[in-house]
Every structure is written in structure tokens, then in C-alpha cells.
């Protein structure tokens, strides 16, 4: 994800696609780059980037993903369609949208059908918006929003480029346990960065949305685990499985011994358990209200939008409108969203005054 270029001529179209998906219950991000990594290190090379990536959480299912190539040009190119099929496969996405506003798409239709890609031009997009009765007034993504997020992201990039690169690139291809741990590290780090207050609170809320995705997956994974085994299973999942856990615990022992030799007594397991305890609380809450946990990323995203649009100094829960939620679902989604924010506060990454009222 990035909000880099304000001169991008396809911005409006990308926003339109994101609005469409958002209103249908998707969590959407623009310009996700697939950077090249060599021996685990980021290189300057770029495999490709995808115009819109969207994730939808549904109860009792793994997240479903959609990728979208959105260009406002006239051409429809077979190579581009094959490329999109490859990108979809790379992300393990369930659906792909090929959007060319001014193209007839007649030639591309057969190929798209064969590759199970949905092709849309402007007319079709309009028909789709009308048939789904979407209300443009509730569209959160527009150029002004994009511009403000661009500003905040540039500030973050200057302060900590590694963090910026992670959330804009690697996060999207990381396994969920790594996403969780790395966003927790990021939350710790942001509280130490020198950012303007506006940017700092925006980044924290932005991270909360990225935290909510793997948290919900953790809740989904542990849904059927008996209560008394939850904590152990959570720790194991966090470390990437039983074998990985064993390895990591051995590493703990070696490091602890080395530290003890240099007269520093540290119980690394206990330190991890402290974090796991806090995580356990928020995951438990998600399991208790599992049905509504799927709405948390979007709820937090809506709070982040309030900040980006400069509407509030601290976002307000009651101003969040998610069109597809019943009153009861909304109420519990609000509670769960605040659980995530309180988790961040309890691990020292957020001030009490910054939590949405």
C-alpha cells in the first residue's frame, strides 16, 4: 500500500474501486507494491504493484482477497490480463477486477472469463454501482483524503523508512503471526518517533487497522480451542507453530545464558508472556464476540478516516457509519475496536487520551 504519487492520473478510479469495495464490506488499500527481497533483505527492485488490494473477513472463513488493476485508459491488453491472473495467484486472491474505463472490453471478455477475472469499463462500473444501490455520500475515499494520507505517510517515511516500507509492502505478504508481532514492534517504535501530533495519532490508528487483521485471524484460529488451552495455543501460534516455538525457546535460553554471563538477568520468556497476556485479552474478547470481530478492521479504518480528514482531534466512535451493520453488530464492533486500541494503550503504544471516545 502506498499513497505516494499525487499526480497519478488513475487516482480517481482507484478511489472509486475502493469506495465500491468498502461499501460492500471490504477493507481496501491502494498501490500495494511487490518489492524484491534478497536473502530476506529489501532490494530496490520491484516485481510489480497492484492498484487496489482488498480483504474481506467473514465468520468461519479465512479472509478472502481481491486484486484490482484500475486504469483510466482505452487499451485493453491481453498481457495485462495474464499479468493480473498471476498477481491474483501470488496473493492467493479469490477474485480479480480488470478495470479500463474507456475500453470496449469486448476483445478481453473471453480471456477474462477464461481466467475468472471480472472486467469492467466505466459504463459497467456505473451499472454495478447503481444495482448495488451504493450511496456516494458515504464514500470514504476521495482525492482530499488521499492527499492528507500522502502527507502523513511522507512524514512517517522521513522519520522511519523501515516502518513505512513494512506497512506499505512486506506486511501484505507476511504470514499472520509475523504481521502481528511486527505491527506490535511498530506500535512500540511509533511512540518513540518524533512526529507531529496529527501524524503520530494517524499512524497509530493506521497501525491499529493493520493489527486488527491478523488479530481477527488469531481469533478465528483459536475459536474452537478449549478455554484452558487458549493461552498456550496463542503463544504457539504467535511463534509460528510447535516446532518453531521449540526453536525460539531454545534461542531464548541461549540468549538468557549469554546475558547472565554478562551479569544481566533477563527472563525473555516472561517478557514475551507479558505481551501474550495482553494479546490473550483482546483475542479472548474477539472469540467471545466472534461474529462481530470481522468488522473491526473496517471500524478502525473508519476512525482513521476521521483523523485523516481532520474532522476530529481524537476520533469519535458514534460518527462511524458502516452501512452493512445492524445496530447490535455496530455496538459490538465498536467495543471490539476499542479493545484493539486499549491493547495498544496497555502495551505502551498509545496514550489514554488518544483512544476514540
Amino acid at each position: 500500500m502506498s499513497y505516494e504519487s499525487l499526480e497519478d492520473k488513475d487516482l480517481e478510479l482507484k478511489n472509486r474501486m475502493m469506495n465500491l469495495l468498502w461499501n460492500l464490506g471490504w477493507f481496501a488499500r491502494p498501490n500495494v507494491k511487490l518489492q524484491r527481497y534478497q536473502e530476506g533483505k529489501r532490494t530496490t527492485g520491484l516485481h510489480t504493484d497492484i492498484d487496489v488490494l482488498a480483504v474481506r473477513l467473514l465468520p468461519l472463513q479465512n479472509p478472502i482477497t481481491a486484486v484490482c488493476s484500475a486504469k483510466s485508459g482505452k487499451e485493453s491488453d491481453s498481457e495485462q490480463i495474464f499479468w493480473l491472473a498471476g498477481v491474483r495467484s501470488y496473493f492467493g486472491a479469490n477474485s480479480a477486477y480488470y478495470v479500463r474505463t474507456h475500453a470496449s472490453l469486448r476483445d478481453a471478455k473471453t480471456l477474462c472469463q477464461k481466467l475468472d477475472i471480472i472486467s469492467l469499463n466505466d459504463e459497467q462500473l456505473q451499472i454495478m454501482e447503481q444495482r448495488l444501490s451504493l450511496n456516494p455520500s458515504s464514500y470514504p475515499f476521495d482525492l482530499e483524503f488521499y492527499g492528507r494520507v500522502h502527507g502523513f505517510m511522507e512524514e512517517l517515511k522521513k522519520a522511519k523508512v523501515g516502518l513505512y516500507n513494512y506497512i506499505s509492502e512486506k506486511y501484505w505478504i507476511d504470514p499472520f503471526n509475523n504481521q502481528l508481532l511486527r505491527i506490535v514492534t511498530a506500535i512500540h517504535d511509533v511512540s518513540q518517533l518524533t512526529l507531529t501530533h496529527e501524524c503520530s495519532i494517524f499512524v497509530k490508528y493506521y497501525l491499529s487497522t493493520l493489527l486488527a487483521l491478523p488479530l481477527q485471524r488469531m481469533g478465528h484460529l483459536l475459536l474452537t480451542t478449549p478455554q484452558n488451552l487458549l493461552k498456550t495455543e496463542l503463544e504457539t501460534a504467535l511463534m509460528g507453530g510447535e516446532l518453531a516455538r521449540l526453536d525460539k525457546e531454545r534461542t531464548f535460553q541461549i540468549v538468557e545464558k549469554a546475558l547472565a554471563d554478562s551479569k544481566k538477568t533477563i527472563d525473555l520468556n516472561a517478557q514475551l508472556r507479558k505481551l501474550a497476556d495482553e494479546l490473550y485479552d483482546v483475542v479472548l474478547s474477539m472469540i467471545d464476540h466472534y461474529e462481530q470481530s470481522v468488522y473491526i478492521p473496517r471500524f478502525l479504518d473508519a476512525l482513521t478516516h476521521q483523523l485523516a480528514k481532520g474532522l476530529e482531534a481524537t476520533p469519535r466512535v458514534e460518527k462511524v457509519a458502516l452501512p452493512d451493520l445492524s445496530q447490535n453488530d455496530w455496538k459490538y464492533a465498536a467495543k471490539l475496536a476499542r479493545d484493539v486500541l486499549l491493547f495498544m494503550e496497555r502495551i505502551g503504544g498509545m496514550a489514554k487520551s488518544e483512544i476514540a471516545a
Partner: protein, 450 residues
Amino acid sequence: MNLDAAWVSLRSVEIQRCFSNSGSSELAYINLPQVMRIGHIARLANMLRRRGIVNGTSLGALGALLGMQPDTIEKHLKIMKALTWVLSTNNKQDPAEVEDHVPRTSEVLSRLGQLFSTGSEEFGISPLSKLEVSSVSALHMCARRPCSSEAMQSELDATPQTFQKVVGLGNAGKYLEAIELSDKKKTLWSPIYYFNRHDTLRKFFQRQTYAELAPIGEAIEVCAEKVGTPLQALPVQQKNAAIAGMKVGAIVPITLWMPSGDGKVDYTFLFPPLSKFEDSDPSGQIYEQPKVFLASLRLGEYYAPTSKIKDPLDVVRRLLKDGKLGRPHSDAFDQYKVPASRGLFKLKEEEGTSYWGNPYRGWMPYLIRSEENIKALQIVESLITPSSERISTTLSHDVESADNVFKQALTCQESLEFRGSPFVKDFIVDPELEREAQMMALTIVGGTYE
């Protein structure tokens, strides 16, 4: 006496509970107002935990259950809101409605303990008075063993008047009781920690001298710290004291045996009279499932002829998760035969493969997954780490009462499992070092994004 913050809260909970059951609660509200406040807030928080969204009516009902006036509950909720343990939902139809964000019980207790020990202007909390600190500390001392009045007075660093008041309040709340030992020494003890046996125990204590009492107290403490301690593993003096404790019922023994070269050897395992055990009721079973299972675990931990159990908790968790252990073992029959005879396990002889790839025959316990058996294993799981104290029963009873209000049953695991043992200390105190350690742990498990 410097009491850990979590213990301050736990003892306050118990004092508040004792007064709420007695007719002299006014005395406590006048003399121990902050202690009562801690008790109320901790218990209310424990009842609210994991309840999602709680409406005003249910809140009122919980407050009433804890003996709070409507204005008191409002004041307590204000503190809880400031601590972000609950947040208002801003529901216009029900302005009292709140979201629950209550953290774990151990967190609640230590936060409250810290706040009330030092006081806080931000939350409008004044620190505990000298009388309150002394009352809480006195209960803490007596929870472990009977203590002579002089020793307590000096430990509490209290004036004779304050000490008298501490004793008077303890008497009124029935959490402290003065007894005179056979050497005429005045001693205080806390009958609430000797579940259902306080009359017998009081009489027993009164027949001892203070010098004789100390090792008995220590033996009871050892049994409470490590439930199922083997008698044979105690040092001689404590062993004799434990036998004395067993005779009077302060310690309940279970004897199991293991075959040896020339017949069999008996091993006795010691259990304090915790309310979790059936035999805390005089008509209850002695050879009840949790106790028998824990004794068999200790048997394997201390006396297995080959490969002793290294981590009993791991064994319990594996049984709960998989319903069986990792590999069949030749000692498993002798170790688990008594729990099997109580209907906990089915023992099967099976073929296994050793680390070197050789086949061998051994026994495998299979958990019979009945509700009763799973509960027994869960009790053992909660007991297996030191310091599961009777005080936690108050909190788990509160969860049950709250279940009735919400008509939604929760197993509030952590309220059964408070581990505030003074023996379990955090290694790190320097906050900078702690942060570094946290980041190091995060890095090792995969939290580096750069």
C-alpha cells in the same frame, strides 16, 4: 511489612467479603473505607470481565450483589472508566450502559494495589491509612500461619492502640481471631483460610506451644505452595509437623504405592484443605479425582523408577488437549492405576518406538472425556502452580453470581488461578532494561520488520 500491590488488593477483597457477610459492615466503612473500596472495585471488575456490553440494570444488580448503594457504584465506575476498564457506550436510551474492557484479574489486583498504596490525585484516591495497611498486613501474615501478637505488632510497626483496633476489626469481620496457646502465648490466626475445619484446628493450635506451632504452620504453607508435596520429601522437623497437621485434618494425605525390588513402597502426598477439594466438606470423598490425579503426577515427578516427569503442567495440558500422553511408558501403569480405578483414565498396553527406533511395549493412559473428569484435570491445572489460595474462591464465586445476572455462564479461569506468590518475582525492575528485554524477545520470535 512491605506487601506486594496485588496482595494488598487480594487481602482487601477478603476483608470486604468478610464484612459484607457480617452485621458490622458499618464499622468497616468507617475505619477501613479504602480497603472496602478496593474490595468493591476488584470484585465488580471481576464480575464485569468478559461480559461485552453491560446495561444499566445489570450493573445495578451486580452492585446490589456486592452490597453497594447506587451512588457508590457510580463512584466506582468513575474510577473504572478513568482506568479504561469500562467505557461508556454513549447509548442515549441507557446512559449507564458500559463496554467491558476489564483486564486480567492479576492486572486488576496489582493496579488497584498500586493506586491505593500510593494514592492518586488523577483518580481521586487517597492512600490507605496506617490502620488499613496494618489490617491488610495482619490478615496476610495470619493467612499463612498463626502469629504471636508481639511478633505481629513489631512486624506491623503499629502502636498498641492501632494494633488493638486491627484485632478488634478482625474480630468484628471474623477474619482474625485471637487464641491462647498452651504456653499462654497470645496468638492471632485467620480461620477463613482453614476451610470448614476452623473449629478443629483452633482447638489443635490451642494445645500447642508457640515453638511447636511454627513448623506446623510452615508445613501447611509448604502444602499450599506446592499442592501434593510428598511427605517423604520434607525435612525431618517439617515431616513431623506435617504428620501432626494430618492427624488434626489441617493437611489431608493420599497414599499411593510403586512396586520395588522387594515388594512395594508407599508414598504419601499432602493436600491443604482447599475448598476446591470435595473433602473440605466432612462428608466428601477423600480419594476424589483431582486429588488422586495430582498425587499420581507427583508420584511420577518424584518417584518414577525411570524418566521422572519434568513438567507436570505439560502432562495435564497434553491430556486435556490430546486425551492421552505422547508415548506409552513402562511406568505408566503403576503411576496412573489409582486414577484409572477412579474412572479418570483407561489404561492400554501398546507398542511404541524408542528414540533409537526400537519397538517396545508400555502403558498409555487415555482420558475418559466426561465433564467431571475434564473438570478434575482443570482443577489440577489450576493448582499445579504455587499459591492458588482460598481467597481466589471469593472471586470465582463472584463470577458465578454474575453469571446468574447475565444468564450466561463463563469459566473465569484466571479468577481460579491467582498466582501472587511472593516467590514468583519478576526479574527486571529497571523500566529501560525491561523495554529492551521486551524488544529483544519480540525480535527473537520474529517481530523485526526491518
